[in-house]
């Protein structure tokens, strides 16, 4: 039970961050390693790894390091309020994005009929401007609700859909398992293709999943025995194979 400590290089490689970033997190008190070796090397425990993963997820979601630190260190932290705040920001982002699309349409109109007298230059920047209290506030609220409802409907799957989702995932993983048992290397095109399908699967059914996010997920797999068990149902060593394939796929766009 001695080797539960990671040195900084190992942790960096494991988590896909640079050593410098870990230095930085130490420096600002965001991730202070649990111990130091006789040679004054930083020693990270498994708990440190978990905290690092939370930090990286926070970063992935666009939080500042200070916010992440506040979140992780505050014992009375209210998850609901934090989540609700994030949700509010995301809804605002949807609205802003839609208005930006309208702004693009305005610009396109301007391009086709350059001398358009009725052209209101404000239209060009709608959505960029974080406009505060507008008379349209209520209209926007109604709009928001409508879209949220629409999103809900499309997102609530029935049992049949879930069956299909699970079957789809199983098909991808068993494909990878077949490659593994055939001795095909995880960096092969075939394995990477399946890893990509896995990513798109998550992206479609769960949440937007970039390559970066996908490797984060793969890191979680390696850190958590439960995932290993899940994948190894398809054969021994399939979990590590899947993770490797994901990483190679992410590295090679």
């Amino acid at each position: 039970m001695t080797s539960t400590h990671y040195r900084i290089g190992a942790l960096a490689q494991l988590a896909g961050v640079t050593v410098r970033a870990l230095h930085h997190y130490d420096q600002v008190g965001l991730l202070v390693p649990s111990g130091r070796s006789a040679r004054n090397y930083r020693l990270y425990t498994r708990d440190d790894l978990l905290r690092l993963q939370q930090i990286l997820l926070g970063r992935e979601l666009g939080m500042s390091l200070e916010d992440i630190r506040a979140m992780l260190d505050d014992p009375g932290f209210d998850h609901r309020r934090a989540l609700l705040e994030q949700r509010r920001q995301l809804e605002a982002r949807v609205e802003d994005t839609k208005r930006m699309i309208n702004a693009i349409d305005a610009a396109l109109g301007q391009l086709t009929t350059p001398g358009d007298i009725d052209m209101n230059p404000e239209n060009l920047f709608d959505g960029f401007d974080p406009k505060p209290f507008e008379a349209e506030a209520k209209a926007r609220w109604g709009d928001t609700t409508e879209y949220a409802e629409a999103a809900r409907r499309t997102k609530r799957y029935d049992k049949a859909a879930w069956q299909q989702i699970h079957a789809e995932e199983a098909a991808i993983v068993s494909g990878l398992a077949a490659l593994a048992s055939a001795g095909t290397p995880p960096e092969s095109a075939a394995a990477r293709e399946l890893a990509e399908r896995h990513r798109l699967h998550i992206d479609r059914w769960y949440y937007p999943c970039s390559h970066t996010m996908h490797t984060r997920l793969a890191e979680l797999y390696t850190a958590d025995a439960r995932f290993a068990a899940h994948f190894d149902k398809h054969g021994e060593g399939v979990a590590t194979y899947v993770v490797a394939a994901i990483q190679h796929n992410a590295a090679q766009p």
Copy 2:
């Protein structure tokens, strides 16, 4: 007489950027105003407006100012095509953001479990005056807007529905509590079955909840003392038992 020239403050307000940002764009040669007034004020034309819109769009889509400059100054630059491409990307972003909202709602829905009466005004006992609760809720949620969002999210269920939901959840948890006090290990088939019922409960009443999502929620439970309190109402150590059962259930279908 239409003033074809904008001074820097007017343009900044129009576009929702700071004067300093426009200074910066001028300084790096990204957006050099077409003219200067007698007082040496920067004067921006309509063409400058369109270029600024392109800059803001590029920045919104994650490009560096240098990349934007290269794009706009490329002699083969097709404004119309660029706009259409940006439009496509923004539409994709709307979809991504909506899915993120759904993911957050899934977590929120789970966090909104019974015991939090003040979160669900509809759930108050008959004859209970909701006003003092409203005050408390607003105090807890801070902003009225946030409160409205929370209310809207849970609004689709009436009192009877909430009663049933809460009763269902209580039954599952008390079943797990019974197993815990009987010394049945959380990896037992019985515990896993109840964990699975818990997952389906969330899936039915809140949001689609995969095994993966379920374990994420379990991780949230461990991080929030409030949940420990909620589950431990059914007995000491029930919270950790529930989390363990969920994890074992997720690992073993």
